[in-house]
Symmetry: C2
Subunit: 215 residues, 2 copies
DNA sequence: AGAAAAATTGACGATTTGGTCAAGAAATTC
DNA sequence: GAATTTCTTGACCAAATCGTCAATTTTTCT
């Protein structure tokens, strides 16, 4: 226990403080941005929320926008993780179940990040770079191709893959972005793990029965 | 042409100017609020957007919050219109089709209002009064009962009605709230009527095949 | 037409905003 | 342990913020 303390401090000596404080700032910022958007969030609020003086924040980030775009960049990396479940080789039943499960799991464990992203989309996505926009587009296109393949092979009913994906995305995303609405609908104070499991079951059931060919 | 001018001015002489200007203000405000939220929208922006001097806005609305809550109240009145299609007497197939169609139609024709509402929900719905919250809850509960009835009568598969409704709501709402995302997914600049029709077809198909008992 | 009420608006004020700066405190390096 | 780099922070600024007000113009009423 005593010897263990010096080991981690050796690990990254020149970046320890910076990494810790940047993390603090970003964590406080994503929470506020996710609720009030870019224009609605004051840098003083971020400072107070993470317990650092405002001037210190400007030591790590040159502007408010820099904080915001850093968050976008960081979150976009995990954005399409769930889509990796959708592959041409896989059986649609399995692939779609896995996707819904993964997406709901992400929604539950990263409510704030999901909401931040939703807020940026509501705004029209003006802070996204052209490259980031294209990335999203390409990722979607790939998966749309997979679904098109499934349709061609008669593995699922003939449906518009684009709108099909929007259905999936919208439904799963909803539980993070509009957690309060979902809670009201379910007549609960907040969503529990059980609620997410019930959601998963219902969504998978409807989606699968809704797109698989009559057996 | 000359005689027609005096007729409409007789109609509501004491409220004409007020009504017109309040409408102008609210229209400009809902647009801005829908993009940037309450905190992110400046009253000067609203003034500029509706072509009235800022001081004039404060003649009609005492505070920024007054504008915002007026909008909430006004929009909440149309919020549950689409749900009226869901009645116990009706056949699930018809009722659900009608609901999806109505909801998508509303999303298409009232993009701004839908997005405004979504923004308020993202915020956590803090500007909603307790009565308004209860209203939403009761409306939902009624329709959940209808679906429960359908399940009991074997008209649809056994599913959790709450999550089923969330699916419907999330999917249809998506096309208004995240129009930009939908447009990117569909690889278009903006959504056309055709896109909404394709969305409707896909959603209805999946939802109906997904919940109707095997025929 | 003239009085009364409603509507308009430029100028203003207290407060808050994003961001700067320079002086000092800690940590790191040699 | 001294030099150097990194980090911290109170004080500050120009611009923007919400909201006020009193003087004026327009509309309505009789």
């Amino acid at each position: 226990m005593a010897g263990a303390k010096s080991a981690p401090s050796r690990k990254a000596p020149e970046e320890r403080i910076r990494a810790r404080n940047e993390a603090k700032i970003l964590k406080a910022a994503v929470e506020l941005f996710s609720r009030k958007g870019f224009d609605g969030t004051r840098t003083a609020e971020i400072a107070e929320a993470c317990g650092l003086p405002k001037a210190n924040i400007y030591y790590y980030f040159s502007t408010k926008e820099a904080i915001y775009t850093t968050l976008i960049e960081r979150l976009l990396q995990g954005w399409d993780k769930a889509l990796e479940h959708i592959t041409a080789e896989r059986d649609p039943r399995e692939a779609l179940s896995a996707y819904v499960a993964a997406k709901l799991d992400y929604s539950r464990r990263h409510v704030v990040e999901s909401r931040f992203f939703a807020n940026e989309m509501l705004r029209g996505g003006g802070f996204l770079s052209r490259a980031q926009r294209r990335h999203m587009q390409e990722i979607t296109r790939e998966r749309v191709r997979v679904v098109e393949g499934w349709v061609r092979d008669g593995k699922i009913m003939p449906i518009d893959p684009n709108h099909f994906f929007i259905m999936l995305w919208a439904t799963t995303q909803f539980y993070a972005d509009f957690a309060e609405v979902a809670a009201v609908t379910l007549e609960k104070g907040r969503l529990s793990l059980t609620d997410y499991e019930a959601a998963q079951k219902t969504i998978v059931k409807v989606i699968l029965s809704g797109c698989l060919p009559a057996s």
